[in-house]
Amino acid sequence: MQTPRLELSGIRKVYPAVVANDGIDLRVMPGEIHAVLGENGAGKSTLMKIIYGIVKPDEGRILWEGRPVAVASPAQARQLGIGMVFQHFSLFETLTVAQNIALAVAGKRRLKDLTQRIVTLSERYGLPLDPRRHVHALSVGERQRVEIVRCLLQSPKLLIMDEPTSVLAPQAVQALFGTLRQLATEGCSILYISHKLDEIKALCHTATVISAGRVTGTCDPATESTAAMARMMIGRDIPAITRSAPPMNAEPRLAISHLTHRARDPFGTHLDDISITVASGEIVGIAGASGNGQRELLAVLCGEETVSDARTIELCAIRVGRLGPARRRELGMCFVPEERLGRGAVPRMSLSENALLTASRQGMVRRGLIDDTVVRTFTQRCISNFAVTCGGPSAPAKSLSGGNLQKFIVGREVMQEPSVLLLAQPTWGVDVGAAAAIRQAIVQLRARGVAVLIVSEELDELFEICDRIAVIAKGRLSPAKPVSQTSVEEIGMWMSGLWPGAQLPERVDAVSA
């Protein structure tokens, strides 16, 4: 029998509040694409950090090609032949691709030779990349290629990919899979971290399922059904979402017309001539790979940034482009932000105090003083209506799991009976059960005539709950298409900015002139 490339036994890591890894065994063979499957918070990332030498395990053994090793640092991991591509990239925006890679490659090398090697490598593995371009001008997919090429330059024997497809369009995912398969046939082992079951089925040879820090199963994803893998991952079936018919007599609630806005961040995405309407009882989704203007669009819609022309954003037929977030909330707009801790909620404050953050207009403040009874009742109702698992209204927000805190935040916004609800990545980093509950709550808003706008990078989620879907790419927005008349493939193609009638970026100047 072949010697495994990497063998872990009994890996245990305890953090002050949580047991992240509890006796994990894992064996990766040479040339194997091995999936590590688990929900957010199951302990996948900790395990990978242990392999890559960022975190030291409290217990357990690591065998590298049959020899026991203690990986003390990422530098040592790289020496052994372990490379890792992180979910969040670590690149300098103001440097070129070649300069970024030169920073990470050990030893002094001439930039010219390195550039040549980058070109050779990227051609060989089908990762087109121009080493002279600056990173800030690259798309997210291209940035990921930089990270991968940077790893490949070290000729790794094991490549760890942490949720690599969360930032990619469907077509780019297929290209990435091609590269990974090629690497595997050349003998490189790949540890592929994900919670997307269909991807794992398509790509991986073996899957190890982790739940709450323990291995709950090992299987061959090609033969195992997705439902069976989901059960191993969350311990039960995923609840299905029930949809109701949208109400009649829909009226436009949120109307964005020819919205053009320069990003405050010099490396941000400028919004270019965006138009879309959301009617009451309608759920509209905005798809797109991250970094294509979602952040800027949401900042402008919720009022944290105002636009110069008030007419470009209308809320219930009132021009709100120049109003701040507080005024827009008064007019019936509610917002669930992407970051839960520090934005959607104050980590150190109790749930009651966090209810007051945005729901203060629900009779919680009288003559400038807080009415504790009203706040507490509201919080209690939110906790029970949305099945938030927590230590009661006085539990601090940071003591809740991601999914429960998100349920609380969504509940807080929904209970204010908004006429327009904006949601950014509503189920990002949320466990499957909580995600289903949140989607169900959103779908129920339709029946109550709320206009819902969801910005999400999860195409499956958008197809599951939306009535219409539009795509944002490079700061421009495609027309919105009814879900029944489009497909994942078409939306995926649009994510590169190519939709019928798409204008060229030159129009930015024409609009601002």
Binding site: Y15, C302, G303, A326
Partner: protein
């Protein structure tokens, strides 16, 4: 290093309250180390520093007299500090409060006698607020750093005070001393404890502490300030008016410092002098932090700080120590407090062996735990 600092999962409540007490204990210990090489008997030194000031009625009166401006200013500053608005210029705002109140006492004559003192109080608060409004305006309009602006304005304020008592407001009958005329009785706070200098201005300080508590705990504006201090992103998301919060945070400190200025010139001093405060505005910053920005804590910390002032004076007389000893103790206390505060969110772990050895022991200990 065999010791390691480890982040705690939850910040320690015990340490939050124990930290100031440990800091006080360590300050005493340091005092011992300072006194010994100076050839002073530590026991006698401690007695003259911490006990002698309190063994008579006059001393107790002085303790409360000095604690009252400290708790007043610290309460005002803590409102801004909770929102991460750093007003370091209370000393200057105090001077402006003293100037404004003196102006009323000396040159504006309210129609009835009982109106004099209330007018002075209002003028003093407004004077302090006016001085704090400058950093507030520059911060909100030009994003100028309020720490630097408020600190620099302190020196401008003190020079303005100096100019007035050396020039236009100098008492013509004052033998050329840099001081104003003495105030009339109507312009002075009544003494509330015979045999001491303790006057009614302490009620303003206590009322301010109570008002500050209600404001931060019960009002929506106080809540907004707390949110802004804990998570700026959440305050922006909720749409709280950041400009308004900066103004409130700075003006609260300015008003409190201005009132403290009134308490000095209309209290123990009774006239305007080139120096109206022994550094209350700066010491109050330490009081606010030693008191955990909480009302009760601030009251206790102000008493402690007041004792350091009195002890310093006593030490000069009894032990021939320089007056700088008070400043030394203030600094040492703040130093230890900041040091001890680290342990609210961290704990010290003893890690004597190599990680491999430690791992092996951990396996054994886990096995022991599991066997029963």
């Amino acid at each position: 290093m065999p010791f390691r600092l480890e982040p705690r999962a939850v910040s320690s409540r015990t340490m939050t309250y124990a930290s100031p007490l440990i800091a006080v204990a360590l300050t005493m210990l340091t005092g011992y180390v300072i006194f010994c090489p100076l050839g002073k008997d530590p026991a006698a030194a401690f007695s003259s520093f911490f006990i002698a000031p309190l063994d008579n009625r006059y001393g107790l009166g002085e303790l409360l007299l000095k604690a009252s401006p400290l708790m007043l200013i610290a309460t005002g500053l803590s409102i801004g500090f909770r929102a991460n608005i750093w007003n370091i210029g209370a000393e200057g705002q105090l001077a402006l409060g003293a100037i404004a109140a003196s102006g009323i006492a000396l040159y504006v004559h309210p129609p009835t006698a009982w109106l004099v003192l209330p007018t002075m109080i209002v003028a003093g608060a407004l004077g302090g607020m006016a001085w704090a409004a400058i950093p507030a305006f520059l911060r909100t309009r030009f994003n100028a750093n309020e720490i630097l602006v408020s600190l620099m304005l302190t020196y401008v304020g003190l020079l303005l005070l100096s100019y007035l008592v050396h020039g236009p407001w100098r008492d013509p009958a004052g033998l050329n001393f840099p001081q104003s005329q003495e105030f009339d009785g109507d312009a002075l706070f009544p003494i509330i404890w015979p045999g001491t200098r303790l006057n009614a201005s302490i009620f303003i300080a206590l009322a301010a502490v109570a008002a500050g508590w209600v404001f931060m705990k019960k009002s929506f504006l106080g809540y907004q300030l707390r949110v802004a201090g804990l998570a700026g992103g959440a305050a922006r998301y909720a749409g709280f008016d950041a400009t308004r919060l900066v103004w409130v945070g700075l003006l609260a400190g300015g008003a409190a410092a201005g009132l403290a200025g009134v308490g000095e010139v209309a209290g123990p001093i009774g006239q305007l002098l080139p120096s109206v405060s022994p550094g209350y505005g700066f010491a109050a910053i330490i009081v606010a932090f030693v008191g955990r920005l909480q009302p009760l804590g601030i009251v206790l910390a102000s008493l402690l700080m007041s004792l350091l002032y009195l002890g310093g004076e006593q030490a000069q007389i009894a032990l021939n120590l320089p007056s700088a000893i008070t400043g030394v103790f203030e600094g040492v206390l703040l130093f230890y407090l900041l040091g001890c505060d680290v342990f609210i969110n961290y704990r010290l772990r003893w890690r004597p062996r190599t990680p491999a050895q430690a791992a092996r022991t951990a396996v054994v200990s886990v096995a022991e735990v599991r066997t029963p």
